[in-house]
Symmetry: C2
Subunit: 478 residues, 2 copies
């Protein structure tokens, strides 16, 4: 209760983040290193993201399923690159039911292997394709540098797994998932993400091509907020995912996988937050508006009653609203509290407001100051104000991103640029060259944007001919 | 594809169950003993149950959260009865990130311990109470006699965990959860469950009182389909869940926990299924209706087009409908297939139906035969037909239960009765007497019904004075 506010974002971004996620009651540190407890104020945001993304997934014909989280170690080891990529991060069950297990069980870090096994079982004929599966699940990747939402030992995600007759159909699916993620990021999280392909060094372990959406955080770093992989026939070959085609030939299927996780919540926090704390986009805010009744004793009775009544009307209008009835606290404390917790709109109801039949409305951001709105009209006007606020956040984030992105053609400017933003560069595409850049600046190729003008030339770093036929985005990342 | 139907329920209930869950594509056996893969046809049922129950949970003011699934072994050991009850079933992670862990991690079999730790942290004052939490999660209990949905090593559930100022408030919550479960069972699953209290021998490990809902399966056995526990101050004492009351005194909170799981799907299957296979209640059926277009080649073009058009109109009317477009299969095969898979209503569209502007409707159960309905009117009448079917299933199950339940006062009749149903008896309440009954008949006290007339007398088995002030239900159970 005796909060002294958070470290300002502008002073220490990392401290700000670590403090705000806990103080805003989004999460708490878990009992095991790197784990987190997602509290109701944070979990509701995940549910809202989930509902939207799940709708898109179902609409496109995918069926939700649930595969076991314990994967026999032998399954996991079948795809060589895959096991190499994930081995250092695995948690392993060796004892169960009071006995040492004959075969250790990997707690899934991702489910390509176990789902591959079942795809092989369920697919016989070309008529069984495409097979479009998705699951909402918890996964475990042992983290040495944990950070709430961004990198936790256990996290929640959705993982799509699909099998197709050929590369064309699998690539259509891969790009569908990427677009769905971009849609969720833009429309719900108000994150102006860039869609693009990862360079080979940043590919998923076992994938032929990996695509991602990347958002810019307010410290200029990039956050990968969703990935979609075309797996070719890599998993199909090791798990025998084959089908009989129309001519009766046995052919390997082409598979995809794609995931979006609770990491997205971290993206929302770092895209919109400011010195005072969180700033939440209305479409995924747990509370879109908070009502603070003002006054004590008899006055409080009147204002609390009015606040509850208004809340009922707002709920009917589809607004997620909360009445702050903590009578033991001063209004000023509550204002700061809800600002820190990022609620888009605050409605104050004081005795004088009531006498004049108005409420005082304050936005979490934007210089419109406070305004008074007739009490009766609040349910009618608030949805529009929330949509405007949502759009305002998107535009603000887009401006921020564009101001912190530059076309760079020389090494000195690159070093300056990636210290606080993104550089759009021509690059040779060689992993060794990427490694040198990373060693010097901590910047890595984030993505080869899908939408970018054609351009070729020399690598800004090593002078060799550029790859990709367009500029690549480099930046430091989470 | 070459299915030969399932073993009739009336021949071998257990074989019927094991075959039907797999053939209907609800589940597949997991790669690890006792685990299951829930396939989309089964998972959708879980989602429908989940949506309904989640609505009730939120409406009553609970916040959803997500606690880590790895619990330090030391937490788990704090409550003596709790650890004793769960120890034989635990799966333990001993290796993570390539290293032996200093402290092994228990994969949660339930979360009282880890949530208790955080309740202690989050609760300071009486103003923080009640604290109403819920989570949707996977849990692990190592199973020696696994059975799909009923007892699997990993299962999905919801677990509510709440803290209250006193016993009264905690008991109100305990009974609220029980009623919510009864509501879901009756209204969605069409299961006429009995609500009641468990006898001490059947209590949750660490609870003061355990309540459950019990449904009768079509082999006369009972299925416990949801439990609600009043934990007293047992967990509050070991986890230091204390609050300052209005007088400034430090007092232990009273806690509750309650859960409903994927086991419920098993209950649906065994409550309504018959020799042909599943019979699904419309409110949780993945497909409420299936449309089978009849004919080949040009005829198929006409009927498939009409089926798709009808499906669109039904979807708009809120009906979950599927068009069976497997042109390579005969209609008779499809009819059997969808009957085995339990779809409540089948709509056949043949060329002659089309010429007359009708569809042929067949119910999965009930002796109404087939009927013809004008094509135009299907979206208007089908929702009512589905509701009638839902009500019919409930009534049928209630009749079945009542016909297989009897008041019993002597041992011989008891043995006969519990071979195929439930016995309502006066019992002494002694665990030793329960144990003897169980050793002879495999029947155990399922529940002391909340609603039952007052009655006392002598124990039907040992002659000692009866306990509970009313009759207890005994039966064999899952
Ligand atoms: Zn280069
Ligand atoms: Zn007795």
């Amino acid at each position: 209760m005796s909060r002294e506010g958070v470290t300002p974002q502008s002073e220490d971004f990392s401290a700000w983040y670590n403090e705000v996620v806990v103080q805003a009651e989004l999460v708490d540190r878990g009992p095991v290193r790197g784990t987190m407890v997602i509290r109701p104020y944070g979990y509701r945001m995940w549910e809202l993201l989930q509902a939207d993304l799940d709708g898109r997934i179902k609409e496109a014909g995918h069926g939700n399923a649930c595969f076991p989280m314990f994967i026999p170690e032998s399954y996991f080891k079948r795809e060589a690159e895959h096991v190499e990529g994930f081995s250092p991060e695995l948690a392993v069950v060796t004892v169960a039911g009071g006995k040492e297990l004959e075969e250790p069980l990997v707690v899934r870090p991702t489910s390509e292997t176990v789902i591959g096994e079942y795809m092989a079982k369920w697919i016989d004929s070309h008529r069984d394709l495409p097979l479009l599966l998705n699951q909402w699940a918890n996964v475990v990747r042992w983290e040495l540098r944990p950070r709430m939402f961004l990198r936790t030992t256990e996290f929640l995600w959705q993982e799509g797994h699909t099998a197709h007759a050929d590369e064309d159909d699998a690539m259509r699916e891969t790009m569908w998932a990427l677009d769905a993620y971009a849609g969720v990021a833009r429309e719900l999280a108000a994150m102006p993400v860039i869609e693009g392909e990862k360079t080979p060094s940043e590919r998923f372990a076992g994938a032929v091509r990996t695509y991602s959406i990347e958002g810019m955080m307010r410290d200029g770093r990039a956050l990968q907020a969703g990935t979609s992989h075309y797996l070719g026939t890599n998993f199909a070959k090791v798990f025998d995912i084959q089908y009989q085609d129309a001519q009766g030939e046995l052919v390997h299927a082409h598979t995809t996988s794609w995931g979006m996780s609770t990491r997205m919540i971290g993206g929302v926090i770092m895209t919109h937050g400011d010195d005072k704390g969180l700033v939440l986009p209305p479409r995924i805010a747990t509370y879109q508006a908070v009502i603070v009744p003002i006054g004590r004793d008899e006055t409080a009775e009147r204002t609390v009653a009015a606040a509850r009544e208004l809340a009922d009307r707002l709920k009917k209008a589809g607004v997620r609203v909360h009445v702050d009835e903590r009578t033991q606290l001063r209004p000023g404390f509550k204002y700061n509290d809800w600002e820190m917790r990022g609620v888009p709109i605050r409605l104050e109801i004081g005795p004088r407001d009531l006498d004049s039949g108005v409420v005082t409305l304050a936005r979490r951001l934007g210089d419109q100051g406070k305004e008074q709105i007739p009490l009766d009209r609040v349910p009618e006007v608030l949805p529009g104000i929330l949509e405007d606020f949502q759009a305002f956040l998107y535009t603000r984030a887009e401006q921020y991103r564009d101001e912190h992105t530059a076309e760079i053609d020389d090494w000195d400017s690159f070093r300056t640029q990636v210290a606080g933003g993104w550089a759009r560069v021509l690059h040779c595409g060689r992993t060794e060259c990427e490694d040198e850049i990373k060693a010097d600046t901590a910047a890595t190729p984030r993505v080869v944007p899908l939408e970018a003008p054609e351009e070729t030339g020399s690598c800004f770093r090593c002078g060799q001919p550029s790859a990709y036929g367009k500029r690549v985005i480099f930046g430091r990342s989470y």
